[in-house]
Amino acid sequence: MIGAVAAGTKTAAKIKRENADAEIVVITKDEHISYAGCGLPYFIGGVIEEEKELVVKTPQEFKQITDIDVYTKLEAMSIHSKEKYVLAMDILEGNVKKYSYDKLVLATGATPFIPQIEGADLQGVHTVRTVNDAINIRSLIDKGAVSKAVVVGGGFIGLEVAENLHGKNIEVSIVEFAHHILPSFDEEIALYAQNYMSDQGVNIYTCEKVISIKGEEGRVKKIITDQREIEADLVIMSVGVKPNTKLAEEIGIELGVTNAIKVNNFMETSIEGIYAVGDCAENVNLITGKPAWYPMGSTANKMGRIAGLSMTGDQKNGLKGVLGTTIVKLFKLNAGKTGLSEREAIKQGFEVETVIVPANDKAHYYPGYRQIITKLIADKNTHKILGAQVVGEGVVDKPIDVIATAITFGAKVEDLENLDLAYAPPFSMAMASTILASNALLNKLAGRMNGINSFELKKRLDELLVVDIRDEASYLIRTIPGAIHIPSEELIYRADELKNNEEIVLICKVGKIAYLSYLKLKKLGFQNVRILEGGISSYPYELV
């Protein structure tokens, strides 16, 4: 096994359980093994206090429990697949060692991508991948050397680190090249999270590119983007990761279209006897059936188990694919995603229908309930669910997991709508958020409701007549720019005021009252009415 974090150790442990006689050697160039990479941001912020808590096992403990040898500070330099051995450099001793194998597992993981810009090598510029990365960053903070930090890249890792730095009273700015943070999410959902992070006091600059990093006496001082300069005594580079495939490429192991190592359902590479697992290997997207790359701990562990089974002769249940299900906590906000985003689905050639529905995570009369917003994406023709995103302060992992499960089993919106989900007030609404979203999506698919999403509304604000049908107080507080006010109870007898308009969009708080009013206007003969999906509470753009 080359690599000893998630995938490597999991594979080793599984082989041993299946075949106690197997002789297993795991090597890693790192000093730590089997650590919780996903916990690093929380160690930086001191939420996880002790290094011991991050490092699940030392090599000695691992040996004791599993009877497997793990050698650290040992870097694999080359693979000799004909003769079946690996040469590795002992980093401490400086000599080369030879390890023979019958079967070889590549679990070399991924490495943070570092843009080639001036100043990327200054002190105070860090990536977050290993335990030592986190220790170094935390010691800078504990020394009091950090008052301003810039996080480059607004993906999960960058955002988690940003939250943790902010918790240490550090002024944090995030610079993101894309239009919004959480680039894999759809814009409306991502912007909701982005507004939330901004409200917590994190500076966020999107559509901005980092040009260079400037320092003094070798230490970072500020970063220069194409729009501004931002002072910083700590820069976190989190612009993505790339799979570690060098060893594999050198011996001609085939890479996939995603540039990760191509494997079949049983984690076998193109060279017999060599397997690849975890972040260095490619996945299949369960929905499209096409190659995809999801460098996630959840997937890495599964791949490890399957490789262990398949190597010991059990090839019954391979990994057919994954959905790229992810979840992140940003302060008190949670955001989860499974399957394809609307953008991805369209790119893959699907004709999609989507809906956005705010709801609560628990009964609205049960103390502590919170709003969550569900975006559901389905295939317009087959009604199969393609993906979902859920965001809010409430429980989002449950709906995301429910939908991930449904997608895995090929569910249609009609199936999701009728799921018998657990309900009592402390846990859910009687009509759970996922079911409400399915209802709304089916209304759209059946043509019962004509909705517009916030993204499109924002683009077309000038052409449309926006009618805010909420109460006077709510309208006064904030509304969509240019909206006129007709409370829902007056709408019918004031309908004449709307007669001459080409296109009307009704807006309410979550979309429900607008839908009822929409039906009334339809009855009066209006053909040109739509409702703002998700209402004003999911509209992430400027309000006045």
Partner: protein
């Protein structure tokens, strides 16, 4: 100066803000309005309302399950 106490617990948005809006119409300058709410949406609403109307948000306390605010009418 008078004190108004509104118990809006259990009311969902926009219930609480509508109550505040009505009460503020009756209240005189300098009067205090205390509001108890369970709906989280109220926090942003009341902040925005005070900003727009010039009434002063003197206190905002939130726990996991309840929000209490004190407003003084302009």
């Amino acid at each position: 100066m008078a004190d108004f106490n509104l118990n809006c617990k259990g009311l969902q948005c926009p219930g609480p803000i509508v109550q505040v809006f009505k009460t503020a119409k009756e209240a005189q300058s300098g009067d205090i309005i205390n509001v108890k709410v369970t709906d989280r949406g109220f926090i942003k609403d009341i902040q925005a309302w005070c900003k727009k109307t010039g009434n002063e948000l003197k206190e905002l306390n939130e726990t996991e399950t309840e929000i209490q605010v004190k407003i003084q009418k302009k």
